[in-house]
Amino acid sequence: MLIWTVLRRLIYSIILVVAVLVLNFLLIHLAPGDPADVIAGEMGGATEEVMASIRKAYGLDQPLYVQLWVYLKNAAGGDLGQSFFYNAPVLDLILSRVGATLLLVFTALGFAIVAGTALGVIASRKPTGIVSNLVTVLSVIGYSAPIFWTGIMLIIVFASLIPLFPISNMYDVTKDVGPVGYVFDVAHHLVLPAFTLGIVYLAQYSRLTRASMLEVLGSDYIRTARAKGVSERKVYGRHALRNAVLPIITIAGLQFGGIVSGAVLVETVFNWPGLGTLAFDSILARDYPTILGILFFSAVIVIIANLITDLLYRVADPRIRMAK
């Protein structure tokens, strides 16, 4: 039954979320030094009163399991702690930034999947042709170049040589352009960061598409389709591509954590105001509650992404839906 599968996956996801919280809690206590110091951050801004209130709020004078319980209870109520650097609740900080990160991640992913599949299909038509070799070379280069380095190379090119795209921030604060202009402005600013993040995965997906297309094209049912006179376009579009796209969706879902990681670096390079720049700033400030909050929140995003991929896959592929 589909409903039971969904329910089971849902419960499992919740357990994972709790596990991430427990990990965060353990990290605070495993780190060298007083947990209250860790929670307050090492900014020196924390007075004795603040420290005392932290000890009380987190129950640091209580046994460890009581502390864990308090921590989990706070988190369940949406309290991920207080950032002493920004002087704001961690959850508010994260919520104000998460939209920018998701915009970047999904644009990059969409670009990588569409362009990667297209390149892979073209390459598979002539496995030893120029496009095919180009895909192989590009994928090795895309895989080997540090992502922030690619971004910096683009900045150097687009800052002075070809000033076509903005190299920093998400929108131009000096211009008042109205809501429609704002959307275009953000899209304009999005080009370089999304391209930088997407190109790593574009490389992988084009290679994967090429490989799975070649495999599918060699299979019996394609030969049957060709034998009964189905046009080459339909063989590629209808029969082969459909089967070749499934592994890409699986991989994209599995890689979501890695993509979020890449976004951290890309955001830092392009000063994109998302979770990545927040994480970078918090690390400079030793603002532990914020860093741990970001780790938790991005893990939750990955868990949700995995859940959705899994369910989509079940709906899309009847063989998996029937099994168990």
Binding site: V20, A31, V140, S144, I156, V264, F280, L295
Partner: protein
Amino acid sequence: MTVIETRDESLPRAEHPAAEAWRIFRSRPAALFGLLLLGIIVLISLLGPYIYAVDPFEIVWAPLTPPFETETAILGTDNLGRDMLAGLIVGGRATLLVGITAALITIIIGILVGALAGYYLGWVDDVFMRITEFFQVLPPLLFAMVLVTLFTPSLPVVAISIGVVSWPATARLARAEFMRIRGLEYVSAGRSIGARDGRLIWRVILPNALAPLIVSATLTIGVAILFEAGLSFLGLSDPNTMSWGLMIGSGRQYILDAWWVVTLPGAMIFLTVLGVSLIGDGLNDAFNPKLRER
């Protein structure tokens, strides 16, 4: 007693698997290029500092001098006036060391978890796979950032952190291989003559599962180097050891005024990882006869 020669010398001699793999590897220009590239970089890192004996921390010329402007620092200077060339030559040591150590940690944890899960199956598999899945939902770079921030950035901490966040993929691969091989006849044969689990896991199955794991280990070195570079770019590298990552981290604010401060160490990392990836691809072809035609 006479020894009877049973082999017919007119038949072609069966090639040793390692020899066959090397023959295929050798026939790949890309793989050989990767080997050459990595070889040169390793040589420069090991011997270079003796030939070009300039202290990479010493201030030799005006800050942010472009390349080819002064003979004192032929590749220019960084934001503090330190010789870029000296940093590039000696910086590979720390980067390669962290990359290889982190890859070793990744492989050891991955094989250990994957082998036990894939061999014993049942509840052992369940427990290990739940742990693996748990680690897979944590964005690796963010997790490593947290670990390095909480426990001061030093080379061992960076290497261990990278290892701790990147083993799940290796574990899954090892598990799949162990699950496949444990059902094969020679494992059952080993079991039937009374071989213990430990012997079957490490002496019988592991050697046969090694080919894909070696490929994955090679690629893991590349991933680990990229990781180290990423952490360094965010300012999370050992400030007391010269590395390409440290050069990138300290140069990141100056990219618009001085293109070389990040471009050059970044290019070294790119070339190193490129070499490692090409070798990994070549090994993959060499160990995977089925994929050879592609």
